[in-house]
């Protein structure tokens, strides 16, 4: 820069009002000379508050990592770019402000500015959307992670915190920068979304930010936005129970509201708040005003419906029946005009209640029945209105209106009259309602049961069993009043002899439990006592003990640990150890100890309970007992670590088991699904939207990375993966678990899984060469499969045992094969029988020489065909191959297989492929040829080729040269053997077996054949992944053996 230029520049700067613009223009000019496209970016970079390479991409409107980074580096080198610590930069405030001002005032710059601002808005909105998802996902798994790995959770939560709110503020800032209307619209949208999901921290942050941005960017618009901001403030305050503040905010919002919609909205919120504060009169007043404004403005029907139903309910609660009636009627009318059945039904149901209260019983009944009719029309509407109707019905039923019951019976009969037609969901719904009613009609248990009996072809005792099952189910669903009523019915049947003494005793025992939950403790004690006496009379000691234990628990709940202890002692002396129920007794014992302050004893008892239950495999009781452990653990920080492990195990087990094997029950599918989903969500294994499962998996994967030895994490991960159908990886995790611990093997709940784990572990041992360890594990697995009746598994394990025993213990192997054949036949699993008989025959052929015959293999072929296997012969070849050395190489077995192949019954003769291509050869040209055979599953191929060689070269030299090439070129090359054999129908060739690691895949095993004749070298290579080789070895050898050189050599053709 010359002195003159500098003088000129300084003069210019001194004369400029805003020297930053001169500066920027000069900078841009200078940069343009070097980087033609950078000028715009330098200017646009004033828009964002922080800049990193990704933001550069957004400003350019074209993300390209390398280019963005390059431009970012240029920006970072500018003298007015201020470096921030985390690899980001920002323009100095003076430059930024000046540029932003310029953007607003210069029409030429307006468009690019707006476009870039929108891109930034979208960029931050996207980040915010995904961080919201991540935030919610984390929230869903927090309760699991908190116990599993608190430190990790803190780490993840902090990372989420760093992005979640800041990204919202950036999105909002750029929207407001674009223009304040856009900014405010985004604010209201984000606020609604986050408030709906109860994410109030972000609501608060964006409200504060919006107000600040308005103050700074468009102070004039603040007044018109004041009502909305106050309304948002009120919602936040109401959500955090600051009700006084919320009320003040809503009232101020109402005062400030210029638009009718704002007033309506605010009045609705105020009415809700007042209702919540039990100031019903004021609430009703606010609601009336809301409705008045809404009706005159023509608000959305939904808003009106909400207002009407609120008026109706508040009216009922206030005893202002006239107002309530108006509300309910308006709701019904609105429903009719909007064709919304749910509103009509709800309105009718509430009207029914109002009429009932007014003593207008006929009208009440009419309204209720109308609600019923509508509910039956549409299953969704029906569900929606069920709650209000049940309330109405309860009131009506107190009058025991015969007409209502008659109507219901008629409905029932109508449904029963068309039993063959598929049931419409609405009929199921009607059924539900009738069942619901039945449970209220406790005085009419017989008639209800009679109805039940009528509609089934069960014997009376079976029908009672059905009742008991339903009672159990309803109880498990938390519908204890219905459960108790179902028990009532069974007990009421005792005099008729329809219910067996056992059924009555069981009903009493169950009813006792439900009555505890219903608060009818005194009656519950009577039932428990009665049940105990009956079970004792029947002679069922375990259940008698259980009934007695139930009494102990009720007494304990009554706050009398001494009496409870007395009962437990009684059980111990009168009944003694009760297999299966010991855990229950330990559990109660633990509670008693805990209540009496003996925490150490409590812990021991609870652990004993957990152990006994683990053995029993009763999940619900296991979970319950461990929950006691959990509660005690919360009180005793010193051993919390130890027990929390058990708790986690129990919860995870129960949750996972539910997920793994949940089946819908008796037709109340909605409840079932809700239950199942609830449990799964609770255990962090079920997404409520799409991604939380994956998020849980990734969280657990992170846990496993951090603590690879933690079995619980692996179990969580494995089951999460199973739920996500990622079975391969799940198996790997379970394998790792099986190697690390016997915990899973001890769980009878997961017996099948445990057996599989044992098998995996055994296979691992066998692969590592420890046959005796493998055998022990296989034996344990087979024993457990035998005991638990898993014959399919047993058959497969027997085959593995036999192979592990060979070649040393031939008797064990043959015995195992024989048992597997029997199982295969019994289970109608011909493939199993075929495999076992083929392997057995192969072993006998090799080791007993004469014992086996072709007939054994023929039988195997028949069985394989029975299993639908069209390539039975090759399946047998695979079975024999799997036996490995010495069987694979045995000439007797090979001979027998060759005879089988040639046996027409085997349908195994190979077709022959003869090359069809032929060509004329210019003088001096040479010819290479090749032939490729591919296995159908792509798991093997054979490539045979020939090439011209120096006429002096021999087969051995050729094989040596090839060997050297392999050694040099193939990564991980290893030679497994090399032998001379008759090949290609011509003479002695060389066959080499070797393996190596292809750069793009798994390790492969190859068999390569070499032969030289008349100046041509012949090579044939059979290839298969290492892991498949044992199963394919014989087949591949057969293919190689089938290769022949045709009599006419190619050059002569």
């Amino acid at each position: 820069v010359t002195s003159a230029a500098r003088d000129e520049l300084l003069a210019k700067l001194e004369s400029e009002e805003d020297p930053s613009e001169v500066l920027l223009q000069l900078t841009v000019d200078r940069l343009r000379a070097v980087y033609p496209e950078i000028g715009d970016v330098v200017r646009l970079a004033a828009i964002p508050r922080r800049i990193d390479p990704a933001i550069v991409g957004v400003l350019r409107g074209d993300a390209d990592d390398d280019r963005d980074r390059e431009i970012f580096d240029v920006l970072a080198s500018l003298s007015f770019a201020r470096p921030l610590g985390d690899g980001m930069i920002a323009y100095q405030d003076g430059i930024r402000d000046s540029l932003l001002k310029r953007y607003r005032t210069d029409p030429d710059l307006h468009q690019p500015f707006k476009a870039a601002t929108i891109r930034l808005l979208e960029h931050y909105s996207n980040i915010h959307d995904s961080s919201t998802e991540a935030h919610d996902d984390l929230r869903r798994v927090t309760h699991v992670l908190r116990r599993a790995n608190r430190e990790r959770l803190i780490q993840i939560a902090k990372a989420s915190e760093d992005v979640f709110i800041p990204s919202a503020l950036e999105a909002l800032y750029h929207a407001a920068l674009y223009d304040t209307n856009t900014g405010f619209a985004l604010f209201e949208r984000l606020f609604d979304i986050h408030a709906e999901a109860e994410r109030f921290a972000v609501c608060r942050a964006i409200r504060v930010a919006m107000q600040t941005y308005l103050e700074q960017l468009a102070p004039d618009s603040l007044e018109t936005r004041q009502s909305s901001l106050l309304f948002a403030q009120g919602r936040i305050e109401a959500s955090v129970d600051e009700l006084d503040k919320a009320e003040a905010s809503f009232r101020s919002a109402f005062e400030a509201a210029a638009e009718p919609t704002d007033r309506i909205r605010t009045l609705g919120a105020l009415a809700d708040l007042l209702q919540r504060r039990s100031r019903l009169g004021e609430s009703l007043e606010a609601r009336r005003n809301q409705v008045q404004e809404a009706e005159s403005l023509g608000s959305t029907p939904t808003d009106l419906a909400v207002a009407y139903i609120s008026i109706a309910w508040v009216g009922v609660r206030l005893g202002d029946m006239a107002e309530a009636e108006r509300g309910a009627e308006k709701l019904s009318q609105l429903g009719l005009s909007e064709a919304n059945q749910a509103w009509v039904a709800t309105g009718s149901a509430v009207l029914g209640i109002i009429y009932f209260a007014l003593g207008r019983l006929d009208e009440a009944q009419e309204s209720i029945l109308r609600a019923f009719d509508i509910a039956r029309l549409d299953v969704v509407t029906g569900r929606a209105t069920l709650a209000s109707m049940t309330l109405a019905l309860e009131m009506l039923l107190r009058l025991d209106r015969p007409r209502l019951i008659e109507t219901l019976r008629a409905e029932r009969a109508e449904l029963a009259a068309a039993p063959d037609e598929p049931r419409h969901p609405n009929e199921e719904m009607a059924d539900d309602i009738i069942n619901l009613l039945s449970s209220w009609l406790t005085g009419r248990a017989e008639s209800v049961l009679a109805q039940l009996l009528e509609r089934t072809d069960e014997t009376p005792t079976e029908a009672v069993a059905t009742l008991l099952a339903r009672a159990r189910l309803r109880g498990a669903q938390g519908r204890v009043a219905e459960a108790a009523a179902l028990c009532d019915r069974v007990i009421a049947l005792e005099p008729t002899g329809t219910a067996t003494p056992e059924q009555v005793a069981e009903a009493l025992r169950m009813r006792s439990a439900w009555r505890v939950l219903l608060g009818r403790r005194r009656e519950a004690k009577v039932d428990a006592d009665d049940a105990y006496a009956r079970w004792k009379r029947i002679g069922n000691q375990p259940t008698a003990a259980l009934s007695r234990a139930q009494l102990a628990e009720i007494v304990l709940d009554d706050g009398d640990p001494d009496a409870a202890q007395h009962i437990l002692n009684e059980i111990a002396t009168e009944i003694g150890e009760v297999p299966g129920n010991q855990a229950e007794l330990h559990r109660i014992q633990a509670r008693i100890h805990r209540l009496t302050g003996r925490t150490t004893e409590a812990r021991d008892a609870a652990e004993a309970a957990a152990k006994s239950l683990d053995a029993v495999g009763d999940l619900d009781r296991l979970a319950e007992a461990l929950r006691v452990v959990y509660e005690i653990a919360s009180d005793m920080s010193d051993w919390q670590t130890g027990t929390s492990t058990a708790v986690r195990m129990a919860e995870v087990t129960a949750g996972l088991a539910m997920r793994a094997a949940y089946q819908p029950t008796d037709g109340n599918i909605e409840a079932d699904q809700r239950n199942a989903k609830g449990s799964r969500v609770y255990y962090g294994l079920e997404p409520t939207v799409e991604s939380p499962l994956l998020s849980a998996i990734s969280a657990f994967r992170g846990c496993v990375e951090i603590e690879p030895d933690n079995v619980l994490y692996r179990l969580n991960l494995a089951y999460g993966l199973m739920v996500a159908s990622q079975f391969m990886e799940a198996e790997q995790q379970l394998d790792a678990v099986a190697r690390q611990t016997s915990v899973i093997a001890q769980s009878s709940v997961f017996e099948g899984r445990a057996i599989l784990c044992l098998v995996s572990a055994a296979q691992e041992e066998r692969a590592s060469g420890d046959r005796s360890a493998a055998m022990r594990l296989f034996q344990e697995a087979s024993e457990r499969a035998r005991i638990s009746g898993r014959s399919g598994m047993l058959g497969a394990i027997l085959l593995l045992i036999a192979e592990t025993a060979l070649p040393a213990d031939i008797e064990l192997a043959l015995g195992s094969y024989a048992e597997a054949v029997t199982i295969g036949v019994d289970r109608k699993d011909p493939a199993l029988a075929a495999r076992a008989v083929a392997k057995s025959a192969a072993v006998r052929t090799v080791q007993h020489a004469t014992d086996a015959t072709l007939d054994d293999f023929r039988q195997a072929i028949l069985w394989y065909r029975g299993a639908g296997d069209q390539t039975a012969y090759w399946s047998i070849v695979r079975d024999c191959s799997e036996l490995g050395i010495p069987y694979v190489d045995d000439p007797r077995l090979r001979g027998l297989l060759a005879r089988l192949r040639d046996d027409p019954a085997a349908e195994a003769a190979m077709e022959r492929f003869v090359p069809t291509l032929s060509a004329g050869i210019p003088t001096g040209w040479s010819v290479k040829e090749s032939l490729t055979l591919l296995a159908p599953d792509g798991q093997a191929n054979v490539i045979a080729s020939s090439e011209p060689l120096d006429p002096s070269m021999t087969t051995t030299e050729y094989a040596d040269i090839q060997g050297e090439v392999l050694q040099k070129e193939f990564p991980g090359y290893r030679e497994h053997g090399r032998h001379v054999s008759q090949v290609l129908g011509r003479g002695e060739g060389i066959i080499r077996q070797f393996s190596w690691d292809p750069p793009d895949g798994d390790r492969v095993m190859q068999l390569q054949l070499y032969f030289v004749e008349m100046g041509r070298g012949y090579t044939a290579t059979a290839t298969t992944p290492n892991s498949s080789f044992s199963a394919l070895e014989i087949q591949l050898s057969e293919v190689l053996a089938s290769l022949i050189i045709r009599r006419a050599t190619p050059t002569q053709t």
Partner: protein
């Protein structure tokens, strides 16, 4: 030494030309009698207040003996009080100040541990399941979870609980800070008060009134530095809050010291401008025609065209 506060700022003290008078005032304040002290800094936009705050932070953290933990928080940008708190707490923790209870509660909030905030957590809901054996092992489970399971959110962490937790974190922060400043100095620098959200402004004044300056003898090692655009500093409120001890505890910088010819020369030298000695001598006179704030870009420009 370059001051890098992770994720926040990156500062080279050589970027700032002589601010000795202001630094002296800060040092005097640090050395002054026990009690929370306040340094207010005012000037026009772009006058260099932020640079000065960064220099003070650098000074506190690296040049004073003993070195002091310091945090500089920009109040602008629409942050609410909780974000400012998180930022402040994070910086001080990074600077090695132990705010034990605050950190514990903050982590407890992150893991949604209701018990840490004295809120009793309900026992996990009772799950009733019964198992029927089946060949595959996992069992057929007739289920049901009871109502609490499917009606409750995945955890008990409601908005009300979160609010309680945040307030508890906030209380813990100030209580921990009070403890920490009993026997050592801690510096909190707050920038752009004029651009702070109403929420943060109200909160700050309330903290000053109800905590920091409430009783003598508390927060005795705390040094607050508050920067604000001219005429926007809440001086009347501060006087009201601090009362009689204002003169004793507060030091005001009503405007930044102006540069003289020596400063300009230093600046030119630092920019490595290829100027002749005569031109350098001439510059101060030329540049002094403008207020210092508006001159800043010119220096920068000189740097740019000479790069």
């Amino acid at each position: 030494v370059v001051d890098v506060v992770q994720g926040v700022d990156h500062f080279d003290p050589d970027d700032v030309i002589d601010r000795d008078p202001e630094i002296r005032k800060f040092e005097n304040l640090v050395a002054a009698i026990a009690g929370p002290r306040l340094l207010t800094i005012e000037d026009e936009k772009y006058a260099g207040k932020t640079e000065l705050l960064r220099l003070i932070r650098f000074h506190a953290r690296y040049r004073l003996n003993p070195k002091l933990p310091a945090t500089l928080v920009d109040l602008a940008g629409g942050k609410d009080r909780y974000q400012v708190l998180l930022e402040m707490g994070g910086h001080l923790a990074d600077a090695g100040l132990r705010l034990k209870n605050y950190q514990r509660l903050l982590d407890a909030r992150r893991v949604r541990d209701t018990e840490a905030f004295g809120i009793k957590r309900e026992s996990p809901p009772i799950i009733n399941v019964s198992v029927i054996d089946s060949d595959l092992g996992a069992g057929t489970i007739i289920a049901g979870a009871t109502d609490p399971v499917f009606n409750r959110p995945p955890d008990d962490w409601t908005a009300g609980v979160d609010q309680k937790a945040l307030d508890a974190c906030m209380d813990a922060f100030w209580e921990d800070l009070e403890g920490a400043t009993q026997d050592r100095s801690v510096v909190i620098l707050l920038d752009q008060y004029e651009s702070a959200s109403p929420d943060v402004r109200a909160w700050m004044l309330s903290v000053l009134e109800n905590r920091i300056f409430r009783d003598p003898g508390h927060y005795s090692g705390l040094v607050l530095v508050l920067a604000c655009e001219s005429r926007k500093m809440p001086m009347a409120e501060l006087r009201g809050i601090i009362g009689d001890r204002f003169a004793e505890l507060v030091c005001c910088v009503p405007e930044l010291s102006k540069w003289d010819a020596v400063h300009v020369q230093q600046w030119v030298a630092r920019l490595k401008l290829h100027l002749l000695p005569g031109e350098i001598a001439e510059l101060p006179a030329r540049l002094s025609k403008r207020p210092i704030g508006a001159l800043k870009p010119i220096y920068i420009e000189l740097s740019a065209v000479n790069e």
